[in-house]
């Protein structure tokens, strides 16, 4: 397979894997969690490096995912106190975690090129060259496998718990009255979202993940009044922009992530203007 096809496949699968949790994040007013995670993984990476002393160790990514989940838990804890609004909780957690990361580096590792960009944030251009080799046989890009596994898990969870996710997103009171614990569902969804986020950071970079989580869902939300259609449409938008963005990047010879995001942006702009014209 040529790298070109690899990239499009990875972008497509990532778009789908991000769009699904993205829909629920948008509906639950937690859209900014992926952006928060992109900052708050720094201390995880730093601690991972302190333990392994190796910038290329996969442990750094595991620690990053772990600090992603800590972010989610802290945000939830702060929200539960009822002292501040949802997004304020996010805004309180990530600068603090990020600052801890910065101070840890400045104190102990000032002479190492240690930062999120170098360790975690991949790029679609690189993705096809990091391949899964088993017994000398080439099984395609590693990123494609990771993100495909996540997509499959997400899909299985979505199909299994679709009705529970729907009811706990729409009506927390009824959900808990009927015995579908909103807390369990919330943590389940947020864990999927943060693991997807971190894995996708590794494959396609931070900003594209944030864009792929929010934009397709937001655009679909403006077009449809049916959750199922919203899920389908946002996967479609994500996948379409992934492929369209790739060719746009090829035409311009520019950053693939940047151009997929730009295509997503144009798509949203068109749908937004149509929405305004309709009113």
């Amino acid at each position: 397979m040529s790298p070109m096809i690899d990239i499009q496949l990875i972008a497509t699968v990532t778009a789908a894997a991000c769009a699904i949790p993205g829909v629920f994040l948008v509906l639950r007013k937690m859209a900014l969690i992926s952006d928060a995670i992109s900052h708050s993984i720094l201390p995880g990476i730093v601690i991972g490096f302190f333990i392994t002393h190796d910038l290329a160790s996969p442990w750094l990514i595991i620690f990053a995912a772990f600090s992603g989940i800590i972010t989610v838990v802290l945000v939830e804890l702060i929200q539960k106190t009822g002292l501040v609004k949802e997004d304020t909780a996010i805004g309180l957690v990530f600068p603090a975690l990020f600052s801890i990361g910065v101070i840890l580096i400045a104190q102990n590792a000032n002479d190492v090129h240690l930062d999120v960009d170098a360790v975690l944030l991949g790029d679609l251009v690189y993705a096809p060259f990091d391949r899964l080799i088993i017994d000398g046989a080439d099984f395609g890009p590693k990123g494609l496998w990771t993100i495909s596994v996540i997509l499959v898990i997400t899909l299985v969870l979505l199909l299994a718990f679709y009705k529970e996710l729907k009811i706990s997103t729409f009506d927390v009171g009824l959900s808990s009255a009927l015995g579908f614990s909103p807390v369990i569902l919330h943590y389940g969804l947020m864990s999927v979202a943060s693991v997807t986020t971190v894995a996708a950071f590794d494959a396609v970079g931070a900003i594209l993940v944030v864009a792929m989580m929010i934009t397709p869902a937001a655009a679909a939300y403006l077009l449809t009044t049916d959750l199922r259609k919203m899920l389908l449409l946002s996967v479609l938008f994500g996948v379409g922009s992934a492929i369209g963005g790739y060719w746009f990047a090829r035409w311009l010879d520019a950053s693939i992530s940047g151009s997929i995001t730009t295509v997503l942006g144009l798509l949203f702009l068109i749908i937004y203007l149509l929405h305004l014209a309709k009113d």
């Binding site: 509906l27 729907k166 009506d171 009171g173």
Partner: protein, 245 residues
């Protein structure tokens, strides 16, 4: 009126933040009544329902539904929350919201099928909303939204119905439609418990009433206890203003 006790609340105390909202509530509701819970703003009416349903954790006391804890009796209970408690922009249709009422009996993972859909359509018809089944919920009027919630509760086919201010912000037609359905439910032997604001309509709509103001003041048949004495205890000396509102 049955002799069985549908809901028994024992020593229930709830506090939000630093203020106790419910103090030491002892209350038994017999089966088969259509009951209003009345009291001034902040009297803890919604809180009482929510803590009976386990949505809020009490700091003391216990609740029994037909003699057992609520978690064992979920299928016997239906709940109509306040209209404002959900985001009506949620991308879903009227029929879909009503179908949510069937989720409890389905349990985890299992999806609603044809049978559930049929039940939901029937419930929609009962509340006069069949024509709106595919309408997105944000495009419904306040009264229509309230009817959808009622239909959702009907689908649950429960023994006890809890409703949190179902008449708030609805038009007169809807109010009459709702109360007729509630009366039908009572005729069918169900217990219906309604948080209610409008004191004037209490004698007309309900046969049983609970006065609540942080503390439980009185519970009984409307004809026996809906009097100036209890109203004064609940609303203070200015209760007449409250009645006229």
């Amino acid at each position: 009126m049955g002799t069985k006790i549908a809901v028994a609340v024992d020593d229930l105390t709830v506090a939000y933040n630093y203020k106790p909202v419910l103090w030491d509530i002892d209350l038994s509701i017999p089966e088969g009544v259509l009951m209003a819970i009345v009291g001034p703003n902040g009297a803890g009416k919604s809180t009482l329902i929510k803590s009976i349903l386990g949505i809020i954790d009490p700091i003391a006391g216990s609740v029994a539904i037909y003699g057992k804890p609520y978690t064992k009796q979920r299928d016997k209970v239906a709940y109509v929350p306040q209209k404002g408690s959900v985001d009506w922009d949620f991308p879903t249709t009227a029929l879909d919201v009503v179908m949510m009422g069937t989720y409890g009996s389905l349990g985890w993972i299992k999806r609603p099928g044809a049978k559930e859909k049929k039940l939901s359509l029937e419930a929609l018809e009962k509340v006069g909303m069949l024509a709106f089944k595919n309408r997105q919920i944000s495009q419904l009027s306040g009264g229509q939204q309230q009817r959808i919630f009622l239909a959702r509760a009907l689908v649950q086919n429960a023994a006890i119905y809890f409703m949190d201010e179902p008449f708030q912000g609805v038009d007169a037609t809807t109010e009459i439609a709702i109360i007729n359905i509630l009366k039908e439910l009572r005729k069918a032997g169900k217990t219906v418990i309604v948080v209610h604001h409008d004191l004037q309509t209490v004698p007309e709509y309900f046969d049983w009433v609970t006065f609540l103001n942080v503390k439980h003041i009185a519970t009984g048949p409307v004809k026996d206890i809906f009097n100036d004495d209890n109203l004064t205890k609940t609303y203070g000396i200015n209760y007449k203003v409250a009645v006229q509102q």
